[in-house]
Amino acid sequence: MGEILLQAEKVCKSFGITKAVDNVTLTFDKGEIHGLIGENGSGKSTFVSMLCGIHPIDSGRFLLNGAELHVKNQVDANNKGVSIIVQEMGTLSGLTVAENIFLGRESRFVRFGVKNTAAMNREAANLLEKYGFGQINGTAMIDNYNFEDRKLIEIVKATYFSPQIVVVDETTTALSQNGREELYKHMKRIRDEGNTVIFISHDLSEVIDFTDRISVLRDGRYIDTVSSDAVSEDDLKRLMVGREIAGKYYRTDYGRLVSSDRVLTVKEVSVPGQIREISFDLHRGEILGFGGLSECGMHEVGKAIFGASYDRKGAVTLPDGTKIESIPGAIRHSIAYASKDRDNESLVVYDTIRDNIILPSINNLAERKILKRKRLDTFAAAHAQMISVKMTGIEQFVSNLSGGNKQKVVLARWIGKDSDIIVLDSPTRGIDVKVKADIYALMGELKEKGKSIIMISEEIQELLGMCDRIIIMKNGAINGEFHRDERLNEEDLIAKMV
């Protein structure tokens, strides 16, 4: 057992009546990568947000090197040797890359109230070069960079001052393979320098591969800490959920014929700079998967079908010849879409679960243009309960839900609308195994009801496990198509991706 760097003692945090973190006592050693896992809503993010000063502690304490740690905000935490790379966007628009890196810590460049911008830019350039991100210009506006590059900038921002503890909170879900490799490299560097990484991820295989020890939280409580080289994914699932989760939560049926009825025809659809001449048919009761590398254009396909792409060319047509050109048109013709960017593109996060669920169905729920509260409540509650959204009530704000439960709200919305074609972009992104299993089961039920699903995913296993047909994309075009088959494996798909 190594030397203890950080100790959590009986740490508690509640939000209203929900106990998010309940009496957690846990230790982290010097020079280790420590995995922290648990279902959505298990308290992982709340636990680290208290450590980093984002939320205050209700009771209990953190001890760093044996001394009690009090932090007021993220910069205060940084000054005391703790930093975090968050799941969402952690950089600020309207500032330069350099200003973002040093935000809140500019004092070293300020003399008599005057900021030495040139020195700050030089320092940022040196750091970016040192981290191997030389392609990023420190003086450029951060808005010029995409989500992934901005995550790389966050890595620099969170680690350049050699903090003793770096929290990586579900960051990898937003990164492509290249971005992940960069992150892993810097996690190992931090550990090799004798500091500690707390690594939160739902991807159990990467947690096992890249950590030294793993701690499990369930329903806000500490369950166990295990050595990474002595556990399997199934062991971790059991610890997370508290019961045996069968490895096979995917579909097990093979050889079933899909209906020949076409419900949607996509013909030569292109979006400048994104996708080129995409054509395919979708059939009744079919689960059609789209896979590929992160930037292959598959995410744009979902938007294009839903009428959410700009400058789209080509045609998306229903069997009766109706063309889908806009989002209202798509919804009117029973097409649903759940975006990969759940918080920004699918949900009104600062609104109630009820309002989020009823949004697309509001015209159907109105009686002579008048909305009756009781009817809305009944509708929202019925659909939220149907897919087991973990909530205090439909009045709860979506912002207070975990990632998995947010996704359930999105699905409840479209089930409520009774959509016939459902486009799911990365439906299990950042979601724990339990909710994943629920979503797969739901997809199976929808399929049985004759609904058609397009599932866009960066997870090859779920494509293989759930889809009747898989289209692989590369550089914005279709590069391969596979039908459901037990013999189909990851290598077959990867060969068409790269």
């Binding site: 905000n73 993220q74 952690g90 600020l92 309207g94 200003e99 935000l103 005057v114 900021k115």
Partner: protein, 322 residues
């Protein structure tokens, strides 16, 4: 890479982007000058007149610079006009005793105090800035009325150095350089942008959001104090008004701020506010030269502002604009 993408890349380049933005603004100024020159060749647009338009526009540019600090943070202030009147009256009154130092110190200190009062009440009452400043506008208008006894306050002829070139140019230039310096070389500029981008994240970065919001109001009204000196020197007198009549003085500086925000992506908010106000001045004076009624002037000026900002801002498709 097609031509459009290539052009975008070039514009993205910081140095060239800056020149591109300034060039675009100057072209717009030239465009409006050309139109009015064709329509009214004798009454409009001679070099002397253009210099006069510039001198009148810089008064508003100074106000626009002040406005910029709070508008980037997502705040607003309706008491600018009332501050111009009150600070000018205080400045004129003090100038009678202390000459130029009284004029400058009186107006600027009055502006500072008003800014502190606005910022403090906004932070403490925790109600929207628009509501706080509408309430305070009524208070400041009344104070100006009481301070002047309802009489026109004239600036002594020997104290009108800041009413014409080079005095007005020097004072305005100092204000522009100060704005540029604060935005570029102090934490205040960075923090104003950070708070405007995401207040919650800014708070988590250790930024004292309330403090910088109050500071934003202080800076705004300090610059409005300078604007008051320029206004009363240019017009040689100031009369207190009540019943929200000062409100109309808010909008010309605000239009300049819009130019600053629209051209911020080129890294030139201060030059954009100066040239933007100059463009507005050209349009105003162009209509006067044509003898157009005030209502038509207002309609066309408003439409021109919307067109210019819409054409120059052009956010990427899909970006949410609030």
């Amino acid at each position: 890479m097609n031509t459009g993408m290539r052009l975008n890349e070039i514009i993205k380049n910081k140095l060239f982007g800056r020149y591109y933005g300034i060039l675009l603004l100057l072209l717009l100024a030239f465009f409006f000058w050309g139109i009015f020159k064709i329509l009214s060749p004798d009454n409009f647009g001679s070099p002397e007149k253009m210099y006069y338009y510039l001198q009148s526009s810089i008064i508003y540019s100074v106000g626009a610079c002040g406005f910029y600090f709070i508008v980037v943070m997502g705040l607003f202030d309706f008491s600018i006009g009332a501050n111009v009147v009150l600070s000018a009256i205080v400045g004129v009154t003090m100038a009678k005793q202390f000459g130029y130092p009284g004029l400058l110190a009186g107006a600027m200190a009055c502006g500072l105090l008003i800014g502190l009062c606005n910022g403090f009440l906004y932070a403490k009452l925790r109600i929207p800035s628009m509501i706080v400043t509408v309430g305070l506008m009524l208070v400041f208008e009344s104070l100006a009325y009481f301070a002047s006894g309802g009489q026109k306050q004239s600036l002594d002829a020997s104290l009108q150095f800041f009413g014409k070139a080079p005095g007005n140019m020097i004072l305005a230039l100092i204000a522009f350089l100060l704005t540029y310096f604060i935005l570029k070389y102090t934490k205040v500029g960075t923090y104003c942008y950070a708070i405007g981008s995401d207040e919650y994240v800014a708070k988590n970065m250790g930024i004292n959001v309330s403090k910088y919001k109050i500071l934003g109001f202080v800076l705004l009204h300090f610059f409005v104090g300078i604007m008051a000196v320029l206004s009363v020197s240019f017009g040689t007198s100031m009369t207190a008004t009540t019943g929200m009549a000062s409100m109309s003085r808010n909008f010309t500086p605000l239009m300049g701020t819009f130019f600053g925000l629209a051209f911020r992506k080129y890294g030139i908010p201060v030059p954009a506010m100066i040239i933007g106000e100059f463009i507005i001045s050209i349009i105003f004076n162009g209509f006067i030269a044509l003898g157009a009624p005030t209502t038509i002037q207002n309609v066309v000026t408003g439409a021109a502002l919307l067109t210019i900002v819409a054409l120059t801002t052009r956010p990427a498709k899909g970006v949410v604009v609030k």
